[in-house]
């Protein structure tokens, strides 16, 4: 499981890059979902989002999941290419798999990489 140390993590398996505001789902999340066939981004550029509220909906061959904002603020960018190629979420969750960029403040409840790894391990039991 890949868990870059420069990112912050939500318990609901989103990552947040404090340097540029990018949001995505973790390697752990994509492997749990298996082959992702569809992503719908629920917010548009310029919308205001609130940490903990849904920003996207993802469907894989066997499951469906809501993706929640790990930060509050304004949506600065939406990854339109991702909607055409949802499989990118499986192949490159921390790179081209970014969903939106939020200009704002990370939720206080986000974990660092070590904390998130432990959170994943706890759930495995």
């Amino acid at each position: 499981m890949n868990t870059p140390s420069n990112l912050k993590y939500a318990r609901s398996d989103e990552w947040f890059d404090t340097s540029n505001g990018a949001v995505g789902i973790t390697d752990y999340a994509q492997s749990q979902l298996s082959d992702i066939v569809f992503i719908e981004i629920l917010v548009d550029e310029g919308d205001t989002v609130e940490a903990g509220k849904p920003i996207a909906s993802v469907e894989s061959v066997k499951a469906s999941a809501e993706i929640y904002a790990p930060a509050s603020g304004k949506v600065g960018a939406v990854n339109k290419v991702l909607v055409e190629k949802p499989e990118t979420l499986n192949s490159d969750p921390f790179g081209d798999g970014w969903m939106i960029k939020i200009e704002g403040n990370a939720s206080a409840e986000l974990l660092d990489a070590a904390g998130y790894i432990k959170h994943c391990e706890d759930r495995a039991h």
Binding site: V37, E59, A63, E66
Partner: protein, 465 residues
């Protein structure tokens, strides 16, 4: 388990042995809820209302019952043996080739519930896949689901798709008054409590064409629903309406008659985003109103918001062609409250009937059916329109159904026809008060020229009475 003898002695009734409750279990349950006997349990029900006398006729033997029920069934009049029918308005009397029933009754298909497990159901899944392929072809759309209950529910599901597509941000639908009134009722039932509004056409405009809908479409409109041909049988070109709707960002749903599609431009070519309708005309008898078959087709880009089951083609572990349910994560058993709809049931057996009907007639056979309907309906309209006192109020082109203006209320005309063994048209006054003297007449390949001439003669006589 043997009958509970002691209870017969006490109550005169035999415990029904197929109810798996033994006296010991019953006593345990009574004890648990804290009563001594069954009589005590039912204490709240006044004694005189317990076990009321049912006043049933004496029991019959199987032979007697079969004879009685046969007699009762025989008193129903039907359009095959007793009556000439010109009734349509959503359900149409077409010939069903015998191969359709033969396929339906095969044990592998004839089941109360559609088995979807690919390991055991390749035949069923392939049949549904073929049904989907044929329907998409017919409507000019890219994808079809495995069907809905009927045309009305399929139409309401189209509204759900539009609502989900805009994630509730658009809340207005523009529904043509030329959409089957029952379908419009079902849309209202489906959408109640969702905070969705329907833009209404002015009373004077109920029989106007698509241009009356254009001013109603705005940036809050999620979907425009029209019918093709419309409920009055008229054929409109919806290309301009679709263009306006798309300019405003709204989706366009066309409720289509499948037989008519064999002769007309497809709704896909006119810009429709969703094409739904009633597939009963394809291999399903009219029966007494159902069960019918709703078809639902749309563009690939909306497939994740589509309700219902979807069968896809793939290859199995040995590289052989195989069929499976696909894109199931959009359905409610996985997506729960976030799913577009809570319907995943389809009309498997009737979709099979429809598929066999289409496959057995083939493209040219289906086109021949459509052409017969068209020609006979136009002959009938021409003859009926000439009768003194009658007339054809609409000038638009039509397919196999048209409005006939009568010199008396349509209900009276129908009564007169019924006395002459003719099931008349649909009384439009039911849903359109301004049209109480108007009948909606349907003509299919089942109506011979003699039948049409008889209808004309009988109406002429009525005029002379």
């Amino acid at each position: 388990m043997p009958p509970d003898i002691s209870s017969i002695a006490k109550t005169g009734r035999i415990n029904m042995t197929f109810i798996p409750t033994s006296p010991a279990e019953r006593d345990a349950m009574l004890k648990t809820v804290g009563v001594k006997s069954l009589d005590d349990l039912f204490d709240a029900v006044p004694k005189k209302h317990r076990f009321p006398e049912l006043n049933l006729p004496p029991a019959l033997t199987e032979m007697e019952a079969a004879s009685l029920l046969g007699e009762m069934a025989g008193s129903n009049e039907n359009v095959r043996e007793h009556m000439i029918s010109f009734l349509g308005a959503g359900a149409y009397n077409h010939y069903v080739p015998s191969v359709v029933d033969h396929m339906l009754r095969r044990g592998e298909f004839y089941t109360a519930y559609t088995p979807y497990q690919p390991e055991i159901s390749q035949g069923t899944l392939q049949a549904i896949f073929e049904y989907q392929s044929l329907m998409s072809n017919l409507t000019g759309m890219e994808v079809s689901n495995a069907s809905h209950y009927d045309g009305a529910t399929a139409t309401a599901e189209a509204v759900f798709l539009a609502y989900a597509q805009f994630r509730g941000k658009r809340r207005k639908m523009v529904v043509s008054p030329g959409v089957n009134p029952q379908y419009r009722d079902v849309i209202q039932t489906y959408t109640q409590g969702m905070g969705v509004e329907t833009a209404a056409v002015a009373e004077a405009d109920v029989t106007s064409g698509p241009e009356a809908l254009i001013p109603l479409i705005d940036e809050n409109t999620m979907v425009v629903v029209v019918q093709y041909p419309d409920f009055f049988g008229r054929i409109h070109d919806y290309e301009k309406l679709s263009a306006v709707a798309h300019e405003k960002g709204a989706l366009v749903c066309v409720v289509a008659n499948p037989t008519a599609l064999l002769m007309l431009k497809t709704p896909g070519e006119m810009g429709a985003d969703i094409v739904v309708g009633e597939a009963q005309p394809f291999g399903i008898p009219i029966w007494y109103g159902g069960p019918h078959l709703g078809f639902f087709t749309t563009k690939k880009s909306y497939v994740h918001k589509m309700a219902g089951r979807l069968i896809g083609e793939t290859i199995d572990a040995r590289g052989q062609r195989a069929y499976v349910l696909t894109l199931t994560a959009r359905e409610q058993h996985i997506k729960r409250e976030r799913a577009t709809s809570n319907i995943c049931t389809n009309q498997g057996l009737l979709a099979l009937a429809c598929c066999v009907y289409m496959a057995s007639l083939g493209k040219s056979g289906l086109q021949e059916v459509a052409n017969l309907c068209y020609q006979k309906a136009h002959y009938a309209a021409d003859q009926l329109g000439r009768i003194k006192g009658f007339g054809l109020p609409f000038k638009e082109p039509f397919f196999h159904e048209f409005v006939l203006k009568c010199p008396r209320p349509a209900s009276e005309v129908n009564q007169y026809l019924l006395e002459n063994q003719i099931l008349g048209g649909h009384d439009l006054g039911h849903d359109y008060p301004a049209l109480k003297n108007h009948l909606l007449i349907a003509v299919t390949e089942m109506n011979s020229r003699e039948e049409i001439d008889t209808l004309v003669e009988v109406l002429k006589e009525m005029g002379n009475d």
